[in-house]
């Protein structure tokens, strides 16, 4: 069953049509990735799903409910969570405060404390740095924090926008391991990546986005072996 279903989604910035009516779906329990070059519209897709950018036309359905008209902040308690492009951790706040904000919908303080402990086991680096101001974390640590923060709301669907951006190869591997691991705990994943090879290697299915339109879709394994994908996105 589709947990997230996007149908004919159209988004414009002024006169620029950034998304020209795209359709895709993410089934319960899958990892689906959305790959594409710079400016293809990946971030636009992610942000419009979460209500950060207004939708011109089309529908977004989550868990059987049309969510176009639902204010973005209400989607979090419904089980949607996003690690935005560029991390966007709260720079002036500590690691701990960032994680507390991730649990904004949760009012039980004890539960928040336990969840933070759990996140700190998953990300030991964060555990060591609870009191550190987020703006002084390294890029990799900020990525971990952004992921930990998004997990604090116990999402059913976690959306990640280029989590590997700007990280060293070792850290990229770590980030993908964490995503795989988190997926095993029963969370559905929608992943946006420029690192198509890595993304496809952990995904069940994938879509290729080109200048606002989906040009290809299929099983991740098939796409990994597809000649045109290889040429355009895998640098082979």
């Amino acid at each position: 069953m589709a947990l997230l279903e996007v149908k004919n989604l159209e988004v414009c910035y002024g006169v620029i049509r950034a998304l020209k009516g795209i359709s895709f779906e993410v089934n319960q329990g899958e990892i689906v990735s959305l790959i594409g070059a710079n400016g293809a519209g990946k971030t636009t897709t992610m942000q419009s799903i979460m209500g950060l950018i207004p939708i011109k036309s089309g529908t977004v359905t989550y868990d059987g409910q049309v969510i176009n008209k639902i204010p973005g902040h209400k989607l979090v308690p419904m089980g949607m969570s996003q690690v935005p492009e560029g991390r966007r951790v709260f720079q002036e706040m500590t690691v701990y405060e960032n994680l507390v904000l991730g649990a904004y919908a949760q009012k039980d303080k004890k539960k928040i404390k336990d969840d933070i402990d759990e996140i700190c086991t998953r990300f030991p680096r964060l555990g060591e740095r609870k009191k550190q101001v987020a703006g002084t974390l390294s890029g990799g640590e900020q990525q971990m924090l952004a992921m930990g923060r998004a997990m604090m709301s116990h999402p059913k669907l976690l959306m990640l926008d280029e989590p590997s951006m700007g990280l060293s190869p070792l850290l990229v591997d770590q980030v993908f391991e964490i995503i795989k691991d988190y997926h095993k705990s029963g969370v559905t994943i929608l992943l946006v990546e420029q690192n198509a090879k890595k993304a496809l290697s952990i995904s069940d299915r994938a879509y290729v986005l080109e200048t606002g339109a989906i040009t290809m879709e299929g099983n991740a394994a098939d796409l990994l072996n597809d000649e045109s994908v290889k040429k355009a996105y895998l640098g082979e």
């Binding site: 950060l52 902040h73 935005p84 560029g86 966007r88 002036e92 904000l101 991730g102 709301s153």
Partner: protein, 287 residues
């Protein structure tokens, strides 16, 4: 001694008003030029309550309620529809709201200044210095309010959400924070603080007129900029600094006529040395 004391208490008034400017700027990223006029609204609320025979405590409550309602309605009707449009459009609207409030006050209460029948607090002697009790009350209550506000912003769920919205609206929404609600709460808090400022202001000068808010509004805005607009402790420090400087200048006969000039000279000096104000933060550009 008593000059410093009066300066501190005037500073507390400026600080209370400056907080409204700075919090709204920090969270809604707009200069609410109508904020000064909320003090005038509060002053007329107090005037009306006292004239009707109400107690001063009741007058304060009425002022807070009226100012908060005005703050929320102004935000909803005038500013919210403009969210996301150019800062210039918002600024012009704020100036328009300011004139609107002043004009309506003039229609209802007339243009002439009216005496507010405030309770007189008198003064007390500490050693050789004569200190006005109104100043003591202003200083103490002002300090308590500001300490409370600081604790609120640092330690409550809503306070943290306010910090988050001021840093990054989009990321705040991704946390499940209702950004519109936080902006509304910010306007409400700023207006409540302005209502407190208006009662303290009337304790010093028991007279109100439609343009009452202009001067303290501009001074408090200056204080907010000196402290670093967007910074809560900055607004407090800027306000107190400006209040003390003003009272000292007024107490020195040669300087007295140039008081306002001295205050703005300080603003310019501080901005030359530190363009972001005393406690302002340089915002990292988002990638």
């Amino acid at each position: 001694m008593s000059t410093i004391f009066d300066g501190l208490s005037l500073g507390a008034i400026y600080a209370l008003i400056a907080l409204g400017y700075t919090m709204v700027y920090g969270i809604a990223k707009m200069l609410n030029f109508a904020h000064g006029d909320i003090i005038m609204v509060g002053a007329y609320a107090i005037f009306t309550t006292l004239a009707a025979g109400g107690h001063i405590g009741l007058a304060l409550v009425v002022a807070v309620v009226v100012c908060v309602v005005f703050g929320i309605v102004i935000e909803k009707v005038a500013y919210k529809p403009l969210r996301g449009s150019s800062p210039l459009a918002v600024l012009i609207t704020a100036i328009g709201v300011s004139y609107l409030l002043q004009s309506v006050a003039q229609i209802i209460f007339g243009a002439k200044a009216q005496t507010v029948s405030m309770v007189s607090f008198g003064s007390m002697k500490i050693g050789s210095a004569e200190i006005s009790i109104a100043s003591v009350i202003t200083l103490v209550v002002g300090a308590v309010i500001m300490a409370g506000l600081t604790l609120f912003v640092r330690n409550t769920r809503t306070g943290r959400a306010m910090q988050a919205v001021s840093e990054d609206k989009g990321a705040a929404q991704l946390m499940g924070i209702n950004v519109n609600r936080i902006i509304m709460i910010t306007f409400a808090i700023g207006s409540a603080l302005a209502a407190c400022a208006s009662i303290f202001y009337l304790m010093q000068i028991p007279s109100t007129e439609p343009t009452l808010g202009s001067m303290p509004g501009i001074k408090a805005f200056t204080a907010a900029v000196i402290g670093g607009i967007g910074s809560i402790p900055g607004a407090m420090i800027g306000g107190v600094l400006l209040g003390v400087v003003e009272k000292i200048c007024l107490s020195i006969p040669v300087l007295a006529p140039y008081t306002t000039a001295v205050e703005f000279a300080i603003l310019i000096l501080i901005l030359l040395v530190r363009p972001i104000g005393l406690l302002g933060k340089k915002r990292r550009e988002k990638v």
